[in-house]
Chain length 223, copies 2
């Protein structure tokens, strides 16, 4: 019987709710009522409350004792904070991963970049983007670091999905390609600094390319 990897109801609920929050289906400030959620999942409120604790730790929900749980708000200031944390930690991860990267991994990362460039919508792009970052960072073999990066990446994705209003237009990810090139040539430090800049851009106002000609999005949302 194809059974999901997670066994407990609580973990399943937290995964589903996290996904909904990230995708923007549950908007910031919304109250998460344990009885309603319990009813939806056909369980009692006990595992729901455990799921809440995990969401709280991930920064996706905020709990006030005796007053309930709400979807965490996130303003631009928080997004920048998350982006800077992510940049700092991804640089660290890449520095350790670099020596373990194989051509096969870099090929897979390049393929992920291509898929991102060809993505039909923002969700497909984000999936490919996350795969790229995971591929080049996972070989650092530092599980706690990778888990932290994952949570931060989710927060970034939440911003991406919320900020993206207009239709998706194909784009070419030059940063990803520059990172891969540097890695292939053994210049890990350069790859790390491109990665740092790349991630830090999230939530920052893009350079006005020309006076009056502002990009369609008011803030850089990729990464």
């Amino acid at each position: 019987m194809a059974k999901e990897p997670e066994d407990t109801i609580a973990s399943r609920i937290s995964r589903v709710l996290a996904d909904r929050i990230v995708r923007g289906e549950l908007s910031a400030g919304l109250r998460l009522r344990q009885d309603h959620i319990a009813e939806e999942f056909g369980t009692s409120h006990v595992p729901v409350r455990e799921a809440f604790r995990r969401l709280e730790a991930q920064g996706l929900a905020i709990s006030e004792p005796r007053r309930g749980v709400r979807v965490a708000s996130f303003d631009l200031k928080e997004v920048r904070e998350v982006a800077e944390m992510r940049a700092a930690l991804e640089v660290l991860a890449l520095r350790h991963a670099a020596k373990h990267l194989t051509p096969a991994i870099l090929d897979a990362a390049e393929e992920a970049t291509r898929e991102g460039d060809a993505a039909a919508d923002v969700h497909a792009w984000e999936e490919a983007n996350r795969r790229f970052h995971t591929l080049i960072l996972a070989p650092c073999n530092m599980s706690r670091l990778l888990a932290s990066i994952d949570d931060l990446h989710a927060a970034c994705a939440r911003f991406l999905f919320s900020a993206w209003r207009s239709g998706w237009e194909k784009r070419t990810d030059h940063d990803h390609r520059a990172i891969l090139l540097a890695l292939r040539q053994g210049r890990a430090d350069e790859a790390a600094s491109i990665l740092e800049r790349h991630v830090q851009w999230i939530g920052r106002a893009p350079k006005s390319t020309q006076k009056g000609a502002v990009a369609p999005d008011a803030f850089a949302i990729v990464g």
Copy 2:
């Protein structure tokens, strides 16, 4: 009636258990049986389970579905990982905090350093050490970043308490003083790089001062 700040039983339990784990009273790998803990705190196991989720997120406990929760193990590799993460994030925090630091804050941090130097035991030293780091970083005003650093600091403290076997001998914290000096003189970048080196030392083998003459501790444990 003097009531503790936290309202829920779960948060109280998680704080107490976290403290015990950090102080080494609960050793790595020990099973945390919810019924026993519930009995000790005079509650049911429901809030205990919620406390477990928080400990899990903090990296202090590990839960295997249907098999219970254990105190997280931590080998030297994990300590180094935590130290490097902490270094990366504290550098980020200090860069943002620097511009908001006041002479009053720096004076308080210097006082914390003095108290650390005069500490009678390792717990007093750690309390002062944590105060120093918190004082100079808190003005960055990035709550998520500070919360992450706090969790990482707890993991470092856990290593410190576990590694410290012999009696406590007074020491002078030159790094803290160098950081404060640089901050007072407005050289934030230099302060940050001293801080980075300072924290990264945790869990690393110290330079053998002389052949055969190894330091009393096999690894650097302060920070």
